[in-house]
């Protein structure tokens, strides 16, 4: 009789689950962060980013400027997206969703922990940029023109890689929550590549490039093929006129807003999700307009 009475009083408590508390989220985030760092996709991304850095060290200053300002972190960011997505799909893959549903904490707790676990990847992304900075000798300035003009990478340019890693990681968690299938995230990487190559790698001046995660802020003279560095004979580089560092700084705000939007999309539902989206989307639009102007 006593047990029945206890069960009756406990039932409303189970229905009204408490909100995710920081200690629980932090404890889970520590576990998720360690697993994320050991995930094969993330390790593969690190290895491939290091390969890009080695190749960049043997290349010209224009390529080095593009890589250190973000593109060198592309494999790491894509690996983080895939690893975070796999982490979000783990309970579904291992058929433990029903078991987790019996726990006192809601699913949002685990999602919050997976989002927080992305902080574990930030030191890796920063270390990667530091490796590129040293390997390219960027402290003396990168020779970006055949007349010997150099460019010292700005902080906003160096920060793009780590910002994109976090934003794409949050996108991976969002996809796992809202489109729980292992075949969703890989085509997103393919689509990203399909957009990044023409708009960022080929140095397109189109305003739409600011909507992508990785942006090439080099301002190039249209249809100008020149030797890359002093002493070169073959013309296969764009004539770089300057770097849009202001646009890049605004782009960082755009990336932070995008990461917040993805996190809200993964965590919130119903009216609160609509309110958060309604607040963040205009801000993202404004930052796009500001970066492109």
């Amino acid at each position: 009789m006593t047990s029945v009475a206890l069960a009756d009083t406990a039932a409303p408590g189970i229905r009204r689950r408490r909100a995710a508390l920081p200690p629980t989220v932090l404890a889970l985030a520590r576990v998720e962060g360690r697993r994320l760092l050991r995930h094969p996709f993330l390790l593969l991304g690190v290895a491939l980013s290091l390969a890009l850095a080695v190749a960049g060290a043997l290349s010209n200053g224009g390529v080095q400027a593009t890589e250190i300002a973000g593109m060198g972190s592309f494999p790491l960011a894509a690996g983080t997206l895939l690893a975070a997505n796999a982490a979000g799909l783990r309970s579904r893959r291992d058929a433990t969703d029903e078991l987790y549903a019996t726990l006192p904490r809601p699913a949002a707790t685990r999602t919050a922990a997976q989002l927080l676990a992305l902080a574990w990847v930030v030191p890796v992304a920063v270390a990667l940029v530091a490796v590129m900075y040293v390997a390219f000798g960027a402290h003396d300035g990168l020779v970006v023109r055949y007349d010997g003009r150099t460019h010292l990478p700005a902080l906003a340019e160096l920060a793009q890689g780590p910002f994109v890693v976090v934003a794409l990681g949050a996108l991976g968690v969002l996809l796992a929550r809202r489109a729980p299938s292992p075949l969703v995230a890989p085509p997103v990487v393919v689509a990203l590549l399909a957009l990044e190559i023409p708009l960022a790698v080929w140095g397109s001046p189109a305003t739409a490039r600011w909507a992508l995660p990785f942006v090439n802020d080099a301002i190039a003279a249209p249809n100008s093929w020149v030797p890359c560095e002093p002493g070169d004979l073959v013309a296969h580089c764009n004539l770089i006129l300057g770097f849009d560092v202001r646009g890049m700084a605004i782009h960082l705000a755009y990336l932070a807003g995008a990461a917040a939007l993805f996190a809200c999309g993964a965590l919130l539902a119903g009216r609160r999700a609509v309110v958060a989206t309604g607040a963040l989307v205009p801000l993202l639009g404004l930052s796009l307009v500001a970066a492109g102007s």
Partner: protein
């Protein structure tokens, strides 16, 4: 395995294929090519076609994922025969989709041949990796996507982007053909029936004591799987 076995198995194997995923990949590839196609085909159209091929190859990763593999391991139809039947059922669909993509993009013969070799290599690599990963076969496609994306950024001239006038073109074609052959051989090697692998499981194998200990539950602790 006789033709009678193959016919009898075709329907159940066909039902077990991830048909929705294959159709989704084909749809995404068609959309990608339709969005990037131009007349005459430019660099963006070629990139779109290359990545569409990558999308098709990516979908093959799930084809070899077989949750019933431990149960079917004891059946008279061997692993190689089961995998051949699976591929015989899904590869024609993907090949027809690729042919449609080539027609939609309107490429000439040189480009069509080169990109077909490349897509075959990517598909063979995904299948070989999926066969090697076993229950984690779904990781094969994304891993090959990561590798190809980096190669496209790192060594674009070796990923068939410049055209036949490029100095690396012929060598790159040979490299992709070699990768296709290596992937196919690795797939065949990894599809041998587990019961006929004396190197690993036979009494003379150096790994045999360790494998026996593991099968008794005494060989190493259960490690958490990645993911």
């Amino acid at each position: 395995v006789t033709a009678r076995h193959a016919i009898a198995l075709a329907a159940p194997v066909g039902r077990s294929l991830p048909r929705l995923h294959l159709a989704g990949a084909a749809g995404a590839a068609l959309l990608l090519v339709a969005l990037t196609a131009s007349e005459p085909p430019g660099a963006t159209a070629l990139l779109g076609l290359q990545l569409a091929g990558m999308t098709l190859a990516l979908s093959l990763g799930l084809v070899l994922e077989d949750p019933a593999a431990p149960t079917l391991a004891g059946s008279p139809v061997g692993l190689l025969a089961r995998r051949l039947l699976t591929l015989a059922l899904c590869l024609p669909f993907l090949a027809a989709t690729w042919a449609a993509l080539l027609m939609l993009a309107g490429l000439d013969g040189t480009w069509a041949l080169a990109l077909t070799i490349q897509v075959s290599a990517l598909a063979a690599l995904v299948l070989a990796l999926a066969a090697g990963l076993g229950p984690r076969a779904s990781m094969a496609g994304p891993a090959v996507v990561l590798l190809f994306a980096t190669a496209r950024l790192l060594v674009p001239q070796w990923t068939l982007t410049a055209g036949s006038h490029d100095a690396h073109w012929a060598a790159a074609e040979v490299m992709w053909a070699a990768l296709a052959a290596a992937g196919a051989l690795a797939l065949a090697w990894l599809s041998r029936d587990p019961a006929t692998r004396p190197l690993l499981t036979g009494r003379r194998s150096p790994l045999a004591p360790w494998l026996r200990a593991r099968s008794r539950g005494g060989g190493g602790r259960d490690r958490p799987r990645p993911g």
